[in-house]
Assembly symmetry: none
Homo-oligomer: 243 residues x 2
């Protein structure tokens, strides 16, 4: 189960400020669709790029519904929490810089509380300006390496949204786990394996215990155990009835 409901995701606004590259705008929109977000807002996009991205074959609903704004103030007017993303190297930030993990928790709390949340991403070249950052209540840093801090725009959007939807409650495997072999199945498998080993002439005192441990170690599913049994029975038959 995801941490955010559909209604909560719908209150997240991804705001791209001054983006120039149509591929990056498209990639941001795609990541949004992948993770179930719909509100894309562009502040002063480079017009030809925006047009090109929008008219690209396969441009999806997110991009088609993207809204354009004159400035950040207009783009985030209806939002409760405004979080700016930054590599956090080049500037003296006004707000303390949080790692994404912590920033996302604050965003989630606001979304749960019914507020809209904006996440701002700067342009590929210069990121968010000091003026842009001054409009943010939270400054968020994706934990990149200090030697290589600056992420591709589409990848930064993907990682940020992933952090919002990843779930600690989702740690179990999703498929219904295959039932494990019963202790009795494991015992049968251990026996036939010991018999095959004995028939091969390599059997030793204490084999059963050693083999039982080996069989248990594998956490076999019932189906696996069945398959192994078939294999060893056949091998055993051959060993006993001649080669």
């Amino acid at each position: 189960v995801s941490v955010l409901t559909t209604a909560e995701r719908d209150r997240v606004c991804v705001v791209l400020v001054g983006s120039r590259n149509p591929l990056n705008i498209g990639a941001a929109a795609r990541a949004m669709a992948n993770f179930g977000f719909a509100r894309l807002r562009l502040v002063r996009p480079y017009e030809p790029s925006f047009r090109e991205a929008r008219s690209a074959v396969g441009a999806d609903a997110v991009l088609k519904a993207a809204e354009e704004f004159e400035g950040i103030a207009e783009a985030v007017a209806d939002c409760g929490l405004v979080a700016g993303t930054t590599a956090g190297e080049q500037r003296q930030p006004a707000e303390p810089l949080e790692r994404l993990e912590a920033g996302a928790k604050r965003m989630q709390a606001q979304l749960h509380a019914g507020a809209r949340v904006a996440i701002l991403f700067g342009s590929e070249k210069v990121g968010l300006s000091n003026e842009d950052l001054s409009r943010c209540q939270a400054l968020v840093r994706i934990p990149t390496e200090t030697g290589q801090p600056s992420m591709n725009l589409g990848q930064a959007v993907a990682v940020s949204l992933y952090e919002l939807i990843r779930g600690e409650g989702a740690l179990a495997t999703e498929n219904v786990a295959a039932p494990l072999a019963t202790a009795a199945d494991q015992e049968r498998l251990t026996r036939v394996l010991a018999d095959a080993l004995a028939a091969s002439g390599a059997g030793r005192e204490g084999d059963e215990t050693r083999l039982r441990r080996l069989v248990q170690h594998g956490s076999l599913t019932a189906e696996d155990a069945h398959t192994w049994m078939g294999i060893f029975r056949q091998i055993l038959w051959k060993l006993k009835n001649g080669g």
Copy 2:
């Protein structure tokens, strides 16, 4: 504090299988540099793309040091845990599909135990094939929306690596795991098992794939794999040299 040490990150191999788009190969390499990973391996890349990506202005050290392989077996031969990423829609997976959050925990445990870990990403068009997936002990799904499951390659790499390095103190609960058998060990075990089966007269077409899956399913430790090999070699010897 990051969950993975520098030495542990250096044991992660990002394996791109059949990638065609130079921009995506470059984006994958950039995400690796952002998060402190260095080992990029390409299986059957589309040659002109690989050359173009490598010679791009600003192509970084990761891309320049990328290695090329003929097949997946060769690319992951030195790795203990091989995890395949999949949108998990189109196929009946052999292994249960795990969400990235859970899969990453298993990878971290293996890295802590000293093993190498491979993460496989399929081509932009078709993802990983069934044959490719049969070489994986873990199938990992980034938790995308069912209506829009398929991620851009560079973004999928970024999100997967981010999950590996993001920190929440999850480390504390980690069990110390025994290092898993390498893919090469598993392959050897699969072969000797197939040979034993053939020698017993029960061999069938397609055994190798079936047996490989069975061997991988068990998540064998290096020590277990060694023991099984000894058993099967003895049985095989007996089958061939008379009963």
